[in-house]
């Protein structure tokens, strides 16, 4: 006879209401897991989207994501000539904030050379950039439509959205947009007209804007990537990072602080959940002291009583977990940043929940085992 099930069935409304509250709490734990997964996934996607074997950046830097990197525009031609390099493309990266329909629009702009590595990998709508100026391919999370014009830069050039991608955002959640390298260089390095006039009046020649942040290179499959990287690093003004190094930089260092913050929030939530579950189990056990005393009196072994408490704690945890997961899945599309719930992390949260329930039930078990069977008599007046 399953006493835990019978008790839950008898107090169904209380069980459901208690679990609804618990499911909200566990839903937040799952959500933070999703945010954490999204943070890492977005960071890696950013690097993986370039489909690079090698990242050639300014010497002494870990650019272009971890820190600033500026190299001359002709570096791509130099890199192309190195033995083992199959293809190379120059890229620039910059964050911009435009205003569209009275609302701020944050974008992470990638300038690339059409036809060379570094451009958008897969479109879900529209076409690739064909014109050399003022066209844009953007992630759909920006909320832009095909054909829509977006004013960018100090000179107010309007870029037309010609293609849409999905799930290409930065680790901070900003949508990625691709434009041509020339346009990107203008946006990044061209001074605003008043500033340019002042620079001219000062007699300055003005810096060339033929600068890039990195060169993305594809290496021949017959040549070892690290050998090519070593060869490129011999140039004093350049540093070459392999794709694996770039991913490590992004996932471990660039988002380290955010990762630790979310880790801390998750640990705190797990502790809070454990305390709340323990209190619920304790309260439920307190409510059953008389029944437990009666059970002991009529000869129920301790395992029956421990089973009653543990099974109820587990039922609560499992119900709360799946209800929380369902809530997160329902509201996931409306969440302001991308949640990545991979089976592994979702499974880990499940087992943590089970662990919490088992740990939390010890408080109730302790109380139940202390109940004197004679209380069945004492309580009877």
């Amino acid at each position: 006879m399953n006493l835990a099930y019978r008790d839950i069935k008898y107090n169904l409304l209380r069980f459901v209401l208690t679990n609804f509250g618990l499911s909200l709490l566990l839903g937040i734990v799952i959500m933070i897991t999703g945010v954490y997964g999204g943070l890492i996934d977005d960071a890696l996607r950013q690097a993986r989207a370039a489909n690079a074997d090698l990242w050639v950046v300014e010497a002494g830097t870990n650019g272009p994501f971890a820190e600033s990197s500026r190299i001359p525009g002709d570096t791509r031609e130099l890199v192309s000539r190195v033995y083992g390099i199959e293809r190379a493309g120059a890229v620039t990266y910059q964050s911009v904030q435009a205003e569209l329909n009275g609302r701020p629009l944050r974008l992470f702009l990638v300038g690339f050379e059409p036809g060379r590595p570094g451009g958008p990998s897969k479109l879900i709508a529209g076409r690739e950039i064909l014109r050399s100026h003022y066209e844009m391919v953007v992630d759909r999370s920006a909320g832009l439509k095909l054909g829509q014009e977006v004013p960018l830069g100090t000179r107010g050039h309007k870029f037309t959205v010609v293609g849409l991608m999905r799930e290409e955002v930065t680790s901070s959640g900003d949508p990625v947009a691709y434009i041509t390298l020339r346009d990107a260089q203008k946006l990044q390095f061209e001074l605003a007209p008043p500033a340019a006039r002042r620079e001219k009046a000062r007699g300055g020649a003005g810096e060339t804007n033929d600068q890039i942040n990195a060169v993305i290179a594809k290496v021949s499959p017959h040549v070892r990537v690290d050998e090519v990287a070593a060869a490129l690093s011999r140039w004093k003004h350049l540093n070459a990072l392999t794709q694996a190094q770039q991913e490590t930089l992004l996932s471990k260092y660039v988002i380290e602080r955010a990762r630790r913050q979310q880790g801390l929030i998750m640990v705190l939530l797990v502790v809070v959940s454990a305390v709340i579950i323990a209190l619920i189990v304790y309260t439920l056990t307190m409510d059953k002291v008389r029944s437990i005393a009666t059970l002991k009196f009529v000869g129920a072994p301790d395992r029956t009583i421990v089973g009653l408490i543990v099974q109820q704690a587990l039922s609560m945890g499992i119900f709360g977990y799946f209800a929380g997961l369902a809530l997160v899945l329902v509201f996931k599309p409306y969440f302001p940043r991308r949640l990545v719930l991979d089976p592994e992390s979702v499974g880990i949260v499940f087992f943590i929940t089970i662990g919490i329930c088992l740990a939390a039930s010890t408080l109730g078990i302790r109380l139940a085992l202390k109940v004197d069977p004679a209380e069945a008599l004492a309580s009877s007046g």
Binding site: M1, F297, G299, T304, D372, S379, S380
Partner: protein
């Protein structure tokens, strides 16, 4: 107590129980001797604090005496220390307990409250249900087997509690003020029921009570005062003449 030619089911010899030590010592039971034979219904009476409930707890093996000997169904369970390691099993197999209030588990229906004890004893679910329903029918509450405790009247709930106490066919039935929450008519019905059970199952029934209205339903009455067995009466139920 009068001999019946049978071995007593409950034998208590020189039983003492005290709480605390030194100046705080309270002697709850002092040198109690009693025997209860199969088929007998005996009353344990006395004013509050006289030690009757303590004595019942000692016989029920939920309270360890301080000294003496307790023999249940021919098996000495206590002789200056517990001689049995599994008192829970002993209670389950040999003792049925009827509380003042039914103390039914609120989340089990009438039949399940009875079947639970059989389930704990290791009987399979189907056989436990069958026996539970038989017992409820025997106690004339079979029609309420699916009712939850809160849906039962006081008398019905007490009958279900009695059925639970009888489930494992115990040789000893202990009842703590079973008629206290009932009116006199229902109290007499419950006592008649206990007499019927004692006779049918050849069990010894010990009832703690304050209720003077049911004295004639006992074969013997043990009166306690200040932890001592004061008087042992044989009542109208057997010979009407006090010993």
């Amino acid at each position: 107590m009068a001999a019946t030619g049978k071995e007593p089911v409950v034998r208590v010899e020189h039983l003492s129980k005290h709480f605390g030590e030194g100046a705080a010592r309270v002697d709850a039971l002092r040198d109690i001797n009693m025997e209860v034979f199969p088929g007998q219904v005996v009353g344990l009476m006395g004013p509050s604090g006289s030690g009757k409930t303590t004595l019942l707890h000692c016989i029920a093996c939920i309270l360890e005496p301080s000294r003496g000997r307790v023999t249940l169904d021919g098996d000495t369970v206590y002789e200056d220390r517990w001689l049995k390691s599994d008192l829970r099993r002993l209670r389950l197999d040999k003792i049925g307990f009827i509380f003042q209030y039914p103390n039914l588990l609120p989340f089990l229906n009438g039949a399940d409250n009875v079947a639970l004890v059989l389930d704990l004893a290791g009987l399979n679910a189907k056989a436990a249900q069958k026996r539970a329903v038989e017992l409820l029918d025997y106690l004339e509450v079979g029609h309420r087997k699916h009712a939850m405790p809160r849906q039962l009247s006081g008398g019905e709930a007490q009958r279900v509690a009695i059925a639970r106490a009888l489930a494992n066919r115990p040789r000893i039935i202990l009842a703590d003020e079973p008629t206290a929450p009932l009116d006199s008519a229902r109290a007499r019905i419950v006592m008649d029921l206990l007499r019927r059970i004692a006779a049918d199952q050849d069990a010894a029934v010990i009832v703690v009570t304050h209720d003077e209205m049911i004295l004639d339903r006992f074969d013997h009455i043990f009166r306690l005062r200040d932890g001592r067995l004061e008087i042992e009466n044989v009542t109208a139920a057997t010979s009407a003449a006090p010993v």
